[in-house]
C-alpha cells in the first residue's frame, strides 16, 4: 500500500489492523477520495467495528454489511472504558438516526456525561466529535450535551503547552462542525500541526487538515 505520505504508508503497511487504523482510513478516504483507503477498510473489515460496517455499506450497498450492523446493534459491547466508547458510541448514534427511530440520543448523551472524568483522554475526545457528527441536531437537548463537552475539552486543550494529534483532531473537527470558534481553536491546532509527534491518531488529524484546506 502506497500513499503520498511515507510515514502514513509505513503505518498502514507495517502495523496490525485496528479500529483506529480503519477509522483513520475512512476519514482519509472522505477527505481525499483516494481509493487506497477504501480498499484498506474493505480488506480489513471487522464485524465489531460498527463505523466500518456503516461506511462499507454506504460505499458498496452490500446488504451483508447492513445485516452485520443489525447483528452488532443487538449485542453492543458494554462501554466501560474510553476506547470502547470510541468504538461504540458513534456507531450507536449513527444507527439510531438511520434505522433506530432516534430513540437513543438521551442514553448516548448520558453515557458521555457519566464518563466525563475522561474528558481529555484521546479516545473520549475522538468519540465525542465522531458521535456528535452522527447525531440529529433536532434532538437538541442531547446534541447540546456533547457540544458543551467538546467546548470544555477544547478549553482544556487550548491551555496546554504542547498538543498531540488527538488534541488537534478535536479542535479541527470541532471548528469544522461549527462547535468551536475557528479563530481561537483552529488557529491553535494549525499552529501545532507541523510539530506533531507521529502516533496512531495522526491519520485522523491529517484527514481533518485536508478537509480544512479543501
Amino acid at each position: 500500500m502506497q500513499t503520498k505520505n511515507a510515514r502514513l504508508t509505513a503505518y498502514l503497511n507495517e502495523e496490525e489492523p485496528s479500529e483506529i487504523k480503519r477509522r483513520g482510513c475512512i476519514a482519509l478516504y472522505q477527505s481525499t477520495g483516494d481509493k487506497i483507503y477504501l480498499e484498506y477498510v474493505l480488506n480489513h473489515m471487522d464485524k465489531s467495528s460498527g463505523m466500518s460496517l456503516l461506511f462499507a455499506w454506504g460505499e458498496t450497498g452490500d446488504e451483508a454489511y447492513r445485516k452485520a450492523m443489525d447483528a452488532l446493534m443487538e449485542h453492543l459491547p458494554e462501554v466501560t472504558d474510553a476506547k470502547t466508547l470510541y468504538q461504540v458510541a458513534p456507531f450507536h448514534a449513527a444507527y439510531d438516526v438511520r434505522f433506530g427511530g432516534r430513540k437513543d440520543a438521551r442514553r448516548i448523551a448520558e453515557l458521555f456525561q457519566r464518563m466525563q472524568d475522561r474528558l481529555t483522554d484521546p479516545w473520549y475526545m475522538l468519540a465525542l466529535v465522531d458521535c456528535i457528527e452522527q447525531m440529529d441536531i433536532q434532538l437538541y437537548e442531547h446534541y447540546r450535551v456533547l457540544a458543551d463537552l467538546i467546548l470544555k475539552a477544547g478549553q482544556t486543550i487550548w491551555r496546554k503547552n504542547a498538543l498531540n494529534a488527538a488534541d488537534c483532531c478535536l479542535l479541527m473537527k470541532g471548528a469544522r462542525l461549527g462547535l468551536l470558534d475557528p479563530e481561537k481553536y483552529l488557529t491553535r491546532a494549525l499552529e501545532s500541526f507541523p510539530s506533531l509527534e507521529w502516533d496512531a491518531f495522526c491519520p485522523l488529524a491529517l484527514a481533518e487538515q485536508r478537509r480544512i484546506n479543501a
Binding site: G101, R102, K103, I137, Q138, Y140, E141, L151, Q155, D181
Partner: protein
C-alpha cells in the same frame, strides 16, 4: 366604538365588542365628513390618515348615527419613499438594497413608504423607532432562490464562552434558519402598517418541496421577531410563507391588528401565528386561512425551556376568524417554558379539525406549565372536535415509547409537565363531528381543572369519524360527548350537547365532577 391603536398614519377601532370577527350589524363609517363605506367587521383599521391631526369617526347603523369617536394621530418625523432610494417596484428588479437602505436611513419617528407596485426582495431587516408602510396595492414579493437568503445562526457562543447569543430557531430549538421576509432582531418601537401584501412566494420556489430535507438551513418565516419590544403590525396581508407565518420569539408588547394570514390548505408547517416565549400580545381582528394551525402558542423544547424558562403569557386573541387550518388555537407542543393566561374571546372558528388543542407530553419538564387558558364567546362552525387536551402527544421521535405513552402512574420529577385550568365559556359549536371534547391528562399529574359553562355543541347528521387526540390507544370516533381521563376537577354548568350518540360524559379517573 373604541380606539384600540393609533399611529401617525393609521388607526384601529373596535366597532362592536359583542360581535365576533363579524359585527352584529353593518355600519356605514364617516371620517371627518368623508364617506368610508360600509364595514361589517367588529374591528377595523383606517389608513391614509394625516399625522398630528384630529379625527372624528361616526358609525351609522340603518341610517342612524350610532356613536362618534374622536382621536388624534401621532406626530411623524418624515417620510422616506423607497422609490427615491432606487426601488423600481416592477416585479423584476432586485429592490432589496433600496428598501434596506431606506429603513437604515430612517430617522427616529420616521416612516418608510412603499407605494403601489410589486417589489422583488430578499429578506429585509427592521430598525427601531420607525414605521414601514406598505400602501394599498404594494406587494413585497419574496425571492425564491434560497442562495440569496441570509442565514440566522441558531447559537453563537459569547466570546468569553460563558453564554450564548441566539438568532435562528426551528421548532423550539436554537438552530440555523433562513431570515424572514421581514425580520426584526432586538428592535423596539416599530410599526408595519398598511393595506399592502407580503408574499413569501413559496409556491414558486422549493420551500414546500421535500420540506423535511434541510437545504442549507431550516426554512424561514415570513415575519420573524427576536428579542423585540413594542411592535405593531396593522392591516398587512401575509401569504405563502416558506414555513410558519408570524413568529415572534422572546419578544414583548406586540400588537397584530386586522392582519390577514393566508396559505394553501396543504402547504407544510404554514402555521398562522406562533408566539414563542413572548409576553403581552394582542391579536385582534385578524383572519387566518392556513395549512397548519391558525395560532400555536409555544415556549420552546426542553433545552430552551430548562435554560430560559420563559413562558408565553398574557395573550389576548379576539375578534379573529380562524378559517380552515388544523387547530383554531393550539398550545404546544413545544411548550417547555410554559404557557399561561391566554384569553381567546369573540372569535369565529370555521372548518378546523380542533378548536382549542393543548398538546404536551412527559419530558417537557417542570417549567412546562399550561395554565389559565380561556375560550369565551366563541362561535364554531364545522369544527370537528372543539376541545382537545392531550398530555401524551406522540409526534416526537420518542413519542411512541412507553415513557411517553404509559397509562401507569410514573414518578413526578423534573420532566413532568403540568396542565392547570382550561375553561370554555359561552362556546357555541355547530356541525361538530368527532366529539365535544377529548381530555387526556397524565395519571401522575392529572389536568387540574376543566370548566365548561354555558356551552352548546351540536353535531352534524353525517359526522365523519376522526381520532380526536394524537396519543396511542385513541380510536377514531364520531358524535361523542365529552371524554375525560386523568383530571382532578371537572365542572360542567349548563352544557348542551345535541345529536350525540352514547352518554354525554365519559369520565375515567376524574377525582371530582360537578355537573349542574
Amino acid at each position: 366604538m373604541k380606539c384600540l391603536y393609533t399611529s401617525a398614519r393609521s388607526c384601529t377601532v373596535l366597532l362592536d365588542p359583542q360581535g365576533d370577527y363579524e359585527a352584529r350589524s353593518v355600519r356605514r363609517l364617516v371620517l371627518n365628513g368623508r364617506e368610508l363605506g360600509e364595514e361589517n367587521r367588529s374591528v377595523c383599521s383606517l389608513f391614509d390618515l394625516w399625522p398630528d391631526t384630529d379625527y372624528t369617526l361616526t358609525g351609522f347603523i340603518n341610517g342612524e348615527a350610532e356613536e362618534t369617536l374622536t382621536f388624534h394621530t401621532d406626530v411623524e418625523a418624515c417620510t422616506l419613499n423607497v422609490r427615491r432610494f432606487g426601488a423600481k417596484g416592477d416585479g423584476e428588479h432586485d429592490d432589496t438594497p433600496a428598501l434596506q437602505a431606506a429603513i437604515l436611513c430612517c430617522p427616529d419617528g420616521g416612516r418608510v413608504l412603499v407605494p403601489a407596485g410589486t417589489y422583488r426582495t430578499g429578506p429585509i431587516f427592521l430598525k427601531s423607532h420607525m414605521t414601514l408602510e406598505l400602501q394599498k396595492d404594494a406587494t413585497l414579493a419574496l425571492m425564491t432562490d434560497r442562495a440569496k437568503f441570509p442565514i440566522l445562526p441558531g447559537m453563537t457562543r459569547t466570546t468569553d464562552e460563558q453564554g450564548e447569543y441566539l438568532l435562528g430557531t426551528w421548532e423550539g430549538n436554537p438552530l440555523d434558519c433562513f431570515a424572514g421576509a421581514l425580520t426584526g432582531i432586538g428592535v423596539k418601537d416599530v410599526r408595519i402598517i398598511g393595506q399592502g401584501v407580503v408574499d413569501g412566494c413559496a409556491q414558486l420556489g422549493d420551500w414546500w418541496q421535500n420540506h423535511k430535507v434541510i437545504k442549507g438551513a431550516f426554512r424561514g418565516r415570513i415575519f420573524y421577531l427576536r428579542d423585540c419590544e413594542d411592535v405593531t403590525v396593522q392591516g398587512i396581508t401575509f401569504r405563502n410563507s416558506p414555513s410558519w407565518n408570524l413568529h415572534p420569539c422572546f419578544s414583548r408588547k406586540l400588537r397584530f391588528l386586522n392582519v390577514r394570514v393566508e396559505a394553501p390548505y396543504h402547504s407544510p408547517n404554514t402555521d398562522g401565528f406562533d408566539p414563542e416565549s413572548c409576553q403581552d400580545i394582542r391579536m385582534l381582528g385578524t383572519v387566518f386561512s392556513v395549512g397548519d394551525d391558525c395560532i400555536a402558542i409555544k415556549s420552546g423544547k426542553i433545552y430552551m425551556g430548562q435554560k430560559y424558562h420563559t413562558p408565553c403569557e398574557n395573550i389576548e386573541i379576539a375578534w379573529c376568524a380562524m378559517l380552515n387550518g388544523h387547530g383554531g388555537v393550539t398550545v404546544g407542543s413545544e411548550m417547555a417554558g410554559g404557557v399561561r393566561h391566554v384569553w381567546v374571546h369573540h372569535c369565529l372558528m370555521r372548518g378546523n379539525d380542533r378548536g382549542l388543542r393543548v398538546k404536551t407530553r412527559r419530558g417537557r419538564g417542570k417549567y412546562a406549565v399550561v395554565d389559565d387558558i380561556r375560550f369565551e364567546d366563541i362561535r364554531m362552525e364545522g369544527v370537528k372536535a372543539p376541545l382537545v387536551v392531550n398530555a401524551m402527544y406522540y409526534c416526537d421521535p420518542d413519542g411512541h415509547t412507553p415513557y411517553v405513552q404509559s397509562r401507569e402512574k410514573q414518578p413526578v420529577d423534573d420532566t413532568t409537565p403540568t396542565i392547570g385550568t382550561v375553561c370554555f365559556e359561552r362556546v357555541r359549536a355547530e356541525d361538530c363531528q368527532a366529539c365535544v371534547g377529548y381530555v387526556l391528562g397524565l395519571p401522575e399529574k392529572p389536568v387540574e381543572q376543566l370548566v365548561l359553562r354555558d356551552c352548546d355543541f351540536a353535531f352534524s347528521e353525517d359526522a365523519q369519524p376522526m381520532e380526536p387526540a394524537m396519543a396511542e390507544g385513541v380510536d377514531a370516533c364520531s358524535r361523542r360527548g365529552l371524554i375525560v381521563q386523568y383530571a382532578d376537577r371537572l365542572i360542567l354548568d349548563n352544557v348542551r350537547m345535541r345529536g350525540i350518540e352514547g352518554k354525554p360524559l365519559d369520565a375515567v379517573s376524574v377525582n371530582q365532577i360537578e355537573n349542574h
